[in-house]
């Protein structure tokens, strides 16, 4: 099983600038449990998952911004959310994701 935190630590050790996204709340059906993590570097390379692939695109582009700004953000995706519907959380659940830079 993938240990995203160890990967993050290894990437930081290589001098890469990274951000860590963590699922902090879920409602209804959600493919990845609370605590699931995804690490992103400044080039958009990523490991891990915060959904079944539905919102990763949005999370990655936001994470790259956060690597530059250093300001953590909370993203929420769900069926009631126009934006989320566009990126497609088709399982019908709702998830809240905390994204922070490692710096």
């Amino acid at each position: 099983m993938m240990d995203v935190l160890q990967i993050t630590n290894a990437w930081v050790g290589q001098g890469r600038k990274v951000a860590l996204a963590t699922v902090v709340e879920t409602w209804g059906s959600a493919p990845q449990p609370v605590g699931s993590q995804l690490v992103v570097d400044a080039d958009g390379n990523f490991m891990g998952a915060v959904s079944g692939g539905c919102v990763e695109g949005d999370v990655i582009s936001t994470a790259v911004d956060i690597i530059n700004t250093g300001i953590p953000r909370i993203l929420e995706f769900g069926v009631a959310d126009e934006t989320a519907w566009r990126v497609g959380l088709a399982c019908g659940g709702r998830i809240k994701i905390y994204i922070e830079a490692v710096a």
């Binding site: 609370v34 922070e100 490692v102």
Partner: protein, 223 residues
């Protein structure tokens, strides 16, 4: 998250030590909490629950992320059912250790991707330290090998203890273990016949039923 906090959590995981990370979602401030520091902490009840059930959760404005050590499965018996259980266990995130004093069974060719010990369980288990993140299975059918291992497993914090064998085998085993001084409460920790009853046929399906029982014990505790 600072690189220092990341490195500290990372080091704890390598040492099989549990830690929790509390993040204030309003400010981004973070604090590492070790299980020994839970008592007296403002979020002690939530931290305790988190460590026990391996669950991260929001508590008010704080996110409590639980980083428990990797799960571990110790199997006594380098037998066919062990070979079927191992890939399922590994897919579920378990580090697997196999112990069997019979050198013909415990070969690297038969068990390539595990920590393998061709020794008696009573010689190996004390060195491993069976903690609350460890599941245990006695699969040899041979009391000479299984019983001393079960004796040690029952004295440990292993979250799951399963023993292969029919109902008749189980009741004979129960008597032998009870002669070692274990009471009914202690003996009720031994799951046997091993596995959930899903009508499993053959070693692969039995492996599914055993894994289901172990995951149930991990996630729901014993009822």
């Amino acid at each position: 998250m600072t690189p220092e906090i990341l490195a500290e959590i990372s080091a704890a995981r390598k040492k099989r030590m549990a830690v929790a990370l509390i993040t204030d979602m309003k400010t981004g401030a973070q604090q590492i909490v070790h299980p020994d520091d839970v008592r007296g902490h403002a979020l002690s009840a939530d931290l305790e629950k988190g460590f026990r059930f391996d669950k991260s959760a929001m508590v008010g404005d704080h996110f409590v992320a639980v980083y428990n050590p990797p799960l571990r499965l110790v199997i006594i018996g380098a037998v066919l059912i062990a070979q079927s259980v191992i890939p399922l266990a590994q897919a579920c995130g378990f580090d697997v250790t196999v112990i069997d004093p019979r050198g013909a069974f415990a070969t690297g060719a038969r068990f390539p991707d595990v920590s393998l010990h061709a020794d008696w369980p009573q010689d190996v288990l004390p060195k491993l330290g069976l903690d609350a993140r460890t599941g245990f299975m006695a699969l040899t059918h041979d009391p000479k090998i299984d019983d001393p291992a079960l004796d040690l497993a029952l004295k440990s914090h292993a979250f799951y203890i399963g023993a292969l064998g029919s109902k008749k085998t189980q009741s004979a085993r129960r008597e032998r273990l009870s002669a070692l001084g274990f009471d009914d409460v202690a003996l009720s920790r031994v799951r046997g016949p091993i596995g959930l009853n899903i009508g499993a046929v053959g070693s692969a399906e039995i492996a599914v039923s055993i894994m289901a029982e172990m995951i149930k014990a991990l996630r729901l505790g014993f009822e």
